[in-house]
Symmetry: C2
Subunit: 337 residues, 2 copies
């Protein structure tokens, strides 16, 4: 994604002066565009990727799958401040939702993965998360006849490779979009679609106060890295430095990928450290730190009403049935070896 | 269930002398009866129970749900020797499959719960499993408007009670039967249904060698408590004493509920301590310890072929979408309080 945004402050100024931001948003007269339904070009790949996404055998313990922390029953998150990893290790950062993540300019809070395929390999081999290695995960998959057959049918190779594993997972994840939110139906002027007065007031306030400077586009976020704590320093015990960890540029300290606000009603708690337990508290902190503004309780309620209209149709699919291990499948090591 | 079985050894003798066991099995001329499809009388209750089954907010950590250890992607088990509980505690015993568990004469390996409803309350409040209390779990559910509305609609009460929570979970679990296995289709003489020569030989051997003395009925087990280690003592480091823990009768030491063999291909590893990693190894040990017989490799292969024909149609349903917490919902405590 090569789209560049002007600096945050310039945009905030622009919005407050002219309300003209909408004209800058691509391909629409609103800064937020509707989520498009997924176009599935390889159903077999998506089915395989879904199995892998739910398969805890990609972890050392045999207990943790992608879905453990990106739980598709719960908005694609774990609803914990930071995640639980192998041996109950405390994760360093809030698990971002996998929903609509294909719309992000990069993956992880610091954008260190270019795309979903690159991201998918990360947790498997992260000692604090699934605590496996790519090679050991491949040994497991290669020992399961149904998986071997699926990979061969889709990729036409005589072997299972990590590139194909992550490609299949990414293909599944790309289907996890959430169209048809009440907001999108209203945006599209669909028959019968309407927002309440509070929801519309919240949207107007969201635009006029400058939230859209960062939270724009179909994902209402995910399109840029921005500094957490513009008007005030963000107080947190969390040591994450954000984008600077990737660029090694001190100017990027505390710059994080702007999280999507799609389905934000479901993806509590908020911020990279998961410190805001409720949507109300997150809106208050954002106003104060990013906009230098104290939203009144009535304004918070309106913005939250608008944000809840962004909850889309959740991906629904049959719980995948996983192919059984074979006698030669390496057994998981849940409690050391 | 009041059906009583004659003593194991008497039955083994009976089978080996006359092959007449089939005549003793209820309501059929075979000792194994087909699994009947679930009859759902309250779809709303089943839907609610399914949500609760998948909801990790019934655990203290917010991370462990019923499905964590009775994973319906993996034969209703976790495929681990013993389960992982709160704070990664090592569980004391192998998680039995939830599939067809409504057919068991009682629940848990030692039968300490009379039925599924009584069972369902156990893990929630077990400090080594979900590590919550019923009262705290109810506080969570009572704070979630969609749950409150579901309970009120189904049970007509102004409150959410633990009896209703476990009733709904049990109602869902009662739907988790696995009809239409290749074996059942053959048993029913359905058009086109056939078993291979090895599968039929395995079934004959299963009957003639006495396996059916304990593994009979629609669940191919689950109908009695039997002693683990009849011809030889079972060697294990696992301290579980079985039924004696409930009856306080020393004669019940090492008597466990006979596990179902339905879907046994999927429910590895085997035995109450999960010590047998493969079906082959489990068959060898069973022959030696329970029947005083060394099955040859060819016999093991035939019995295993038969056992794999018991894999039924796995329950398929859409992954449940859970109602979001509200601002007043008590937050999970994954890392102490």
């Amino acid at each position: 994604m090569s789209r560049r945004v002007p600096s945050l402050l310039a945009l905030v100024a622009l919005v407050s002066v002219s309300g003209a931001l909408a004209a800058q948003a691509p391909a629409a007269d609103e800064p937020i565009q509707p989520i498009e339904p997924a176009r599935i070009t390889s159903p077999a790949k998506v089915t395989l990727g879904r199995q892998l996404f739910f398969d805890p055998r990609l972890s050392r313990s045999g207990f943790i799958s992608c879905n453990s922390c990106h739980n598709l029953s719960m908005g694609g998150t774990d609803n914990l401040p930071t995640s639980i990893g192998d041996h109950w290790q405390k994760g360093p950062i809030n698990a971002p939702t996998v929903l609509n993540s294909s719309l992000n300019l990069a993956q992880f809070w610091d954008g260190r993965a270019r795309d979903l395929q690159e991201q998918a390999g990360g947790p498997i081999a992260n000692p604090g998360e699934m605590a496996f290695t790519h090679e050991l995960a491949l040994d497991v998959l290669r020992s399961i006849p149904q998986y071997v057959a699926s990979f061969k049918g889709i990729y036409g190779r005589g072997d299972v490779t990590i590139a194909d594993v992550t490609d299949a997972i990414a293909a599944f994840e790309a289907t996890l979009v959430t169209p048809d939110s009440r907001f999108d139906r209203w945006l599209r002027r669909l028959p019968g679609a309407r927002l309440s007065a509070d929801e519309r007031a919240g949207y107007e306030l969201f635009k006029a106060s400058g939230c859209v400077a960062c939270h724009y586009g179909p994902a209402v976020g995910g399109a840029s890295f921005e500094k957490m704590g513009l008007f005030q320093k963000y107080q947190t015990a969390n040591p994450a430095v954000g984008r600077a960890g990737v660029t090694k540029d001190d100017a990027d300290r505390m710059r994080f990928k702007v999280p999507t606000l799609r389905n934000v009603e479901l993806t509590y708690p908020y911020f990279h450290d998961g410190a805001a337990p409720t949507l109300d508290s997150a809106v208050v902190v954002m106003g104060r730190l990013q906009l230098g503004r104290e939203f009144t309780p009535a304004e918070v309620a309106q913005i939250v009403a608008f944000l809840k209209s962004l909850t889309g149709r959740q991906p629904t699919f049959p719980l995948p049935i996983l192919p059984p291990s074979s006698p030669t499948t390496p057994r998981p090591q849940p409690f050391g070896n």
